[in-house]
């Protein structure tokens, strides 16, 4: 199998008033073509920054990004334009990711206008095709975003991202602004499009049940780093990193039999500004020991199951 996207030791730091904010710190992974990689974590863990850095909405601070075997870490402006046709993003909030002054048609055809010289007729046809594909009524063609509900807006965002027929799509919390019944509609649509067009997704979310449902493989992030990475099912059957365990335990499950005995994590996420070396979770970890203050590496402890925890690697947990 070939990996479509491969990042190695990717870093993205932001400078802030109080020091360097390590939003993404030394992250490595690869995504196979046609697969869905879920990236899950709590707010501030750097998952959105990671997606944006890969598609060059942010410039990386360090590390490499490869696309289809080609290094794209420092592309020229022209290369970025070419890449954008292959790599797209679906944003979290369909209320703010659509220009309020553009009709549905204008929004969907914007990428065509921006980068292709094609006839107006062809453009209209393309928009019709996309609207059909994402399930938006023809009569809404000239509607404005504020007249539509969240689910429909998100469909427009999806259509806009897919009209250039990209191969790789970063889905940045695409359903977290939606109600459950609508969320299910959009998740089905995303799954459907992925299958039909053999798309590769990087699916960023904070919702454990959504990430379990949609992903082939999952990365769990904490304060800019991947703490655990493995196939989706395995993560929920056998979470190894203490943070993953706490995260899964904290999910409010709809199963009431037997009543769940939750592990309540103490403390709150610490600051990603100038973090100390060593495991970033150790301040909240109930298993923390001295060795946790050493830098941790992501080790393969079982086939395809990577964990960044010295104690798991040493078979102590």
């Amino acid at each position: 199998m070939t990996s479509l996207v491969e990042v190695k030791k990717l870093k993205k730091y932001f400078s802030s008033a109080r020091g360097l904010l390590h939003a993404v710190d030394d992250v490595s992974f690869s995504i196979q073509k046609g697969k869905i990689l879920g990236v899950v974590g709590e707010s501030g863990c750097g998952k959105s920054t990671l997606g944006r850095t890969i598609i060059h909405l942010h410039e990386s601070t360090g590390g490499t990004i490869q696309y289809n075997g080609k290094d794209i870490t420092n592309p020229s402006a022209k290369e970025i334009r070419q890449l954008r046709e292959k790599m797209q993003i679906i944003f979290q909030d369909p209320y703010s990711s659509l220009d309020p002054r553009m009709t549905v048609e204008a929004a969907i055809s914007e990428p065509l206008l921006a980068s292709h010289k094609i006839s107006a007729r062809k453009r209209r046809e393309e928009v019709t095709r996309m609207m059909e594909m994402v399930g938006i009524d023809e009569r809404l063609r000239y509607a404005y975003p504020h007249e539509l509900d969240g689910g429909r807006r998100q469909r427009i965002v999806i259509a806009r991202a897919l009209i250039l027929q990209p191969e790789f799509v970063v889905c940045d919390e695409p359903v977290s602004a939606l109600d459950v019944s609508i969320q299910a509609q959009v998740l089905n649509l995303l799954r459907d499009l992925q299958k039909k067009q053999n798309l590769t997704y990087m699916f960023v979310t904070h919702d454990m049940s959504v990430v379990r449902h949609i992903s082939d493989e999952i990365c769990v992030m904490y304060l800019g780093q991947i703490v655990e990475k493995c196939p989706a099912k395995q993560l929920f059957e056998k979470p190894l990193h203490p943070y993953t365990q706490a995260l899964i335990s904290a999910i409010p499950s709809v199963d009431i039999h037997p009543p769940k005995n939750r592990e309540i994590l103490s403390g709150e996420i610490t600051s990603p500004i100038n973090p100390k070396p060593g495991c970033r979770f150790c301040a909240r970890c109930r298993y923390a020991q001295n060795q946790c203050h050493q830098p941790q590496t992501l080790n393969e402890v079982e086939p395809d199951h990577f964990v960044a925890c010295a104690r798991v690697s040493d078979n102590e947990l």
């Binding site: 459950v180 199963d255 939750r262 994590l265």
Partner: protein, 333 residues
Amino acid sequence: MNSKDQSAPFLEVKDLEVFYSAGKQKVQAVNGVSFSLQKGRSLGLVGETGAGKTTIAKAILRILPHASATVKNGQILLNGTNLLSLSEERMRDIRGNEIAMIFQDPMTALNPILRVGNQITEAILHHSSMTKAEAEKHAMEMLEMVGIPAERFGEYPHQFSGGMKQRVVIAIALACNPALLLADEPTTALDVTIQAQVLHMIAGLKEKLGTSMILITHDMGVVASSCDDVAIVYAGQIVEYGTLEQIFDHPSHPYTRGLFNAIPSMNIDQEYLEPIDGLPPDPTHLPEGCYFSPRCKYAAEACKTGNMPVITTADGHLCRCCQYNLVAKDEKK
């Protein structure tokens, strides 16, 4: 819908109807809601955005905006007293004292330019005969109780994280030891691990203080972990009501079932989810008959006109559906 228990309930809401008017448009937010709550229990009001859950809570506390909202009908009985007929003055004694509310967004629920300690003390001073020093001491105890060091009494809201702010909001709500707590999506704005902390804390404090609670949420998982009874709200009506077990083990209304099916399962692998088709109705133009009928796969002619009957399917388990028998045949997967 009436409770199974015949002893006088602690809180009883009867036929509550609320609408908002904006210009000529009339938004029917709450359309004949009735439920009751026993002392010490917690009721989950579950529904999607715009279903009218928050309006119900605000109507109980009588803090709906006077300019636009009108309570058209109904009674809200707290220990037998109808809150809707009390004077504003008497109602002020109840607010914050007997009934308190936790708001959804801790980021905006605290006054940004007052110290958090003063925001707690204020409520205590208002409802008790304590001196300022005593009230401050009590406020510090409240902070400790919600897991915030008392030293932070003099800090401003912007110095707290989201989870911490919500703890402060809870401390304010519980400061006067209210008998009823209205919690409006108290954990929606928080991360999962923080949500678990806060829910755990609310449950513990509720137990300790014997508070009854109405928990408003859109998250079935939160209901499962915190409520005794559940009411499913759709378009300003309660479509199903029962104990936690009744609703979760035997959901009867097509909407309730749809909600459960739409949630990605944590145990079963599904290629596709089962969404509910269509969209929630426009509250300015509610459909005739059953409000859910346009989205319901069981909908028949009978569903398109008149009031839906409320059927008692089991002891205290109520369901507003005229196709109930048909639905019941399709057992929950």
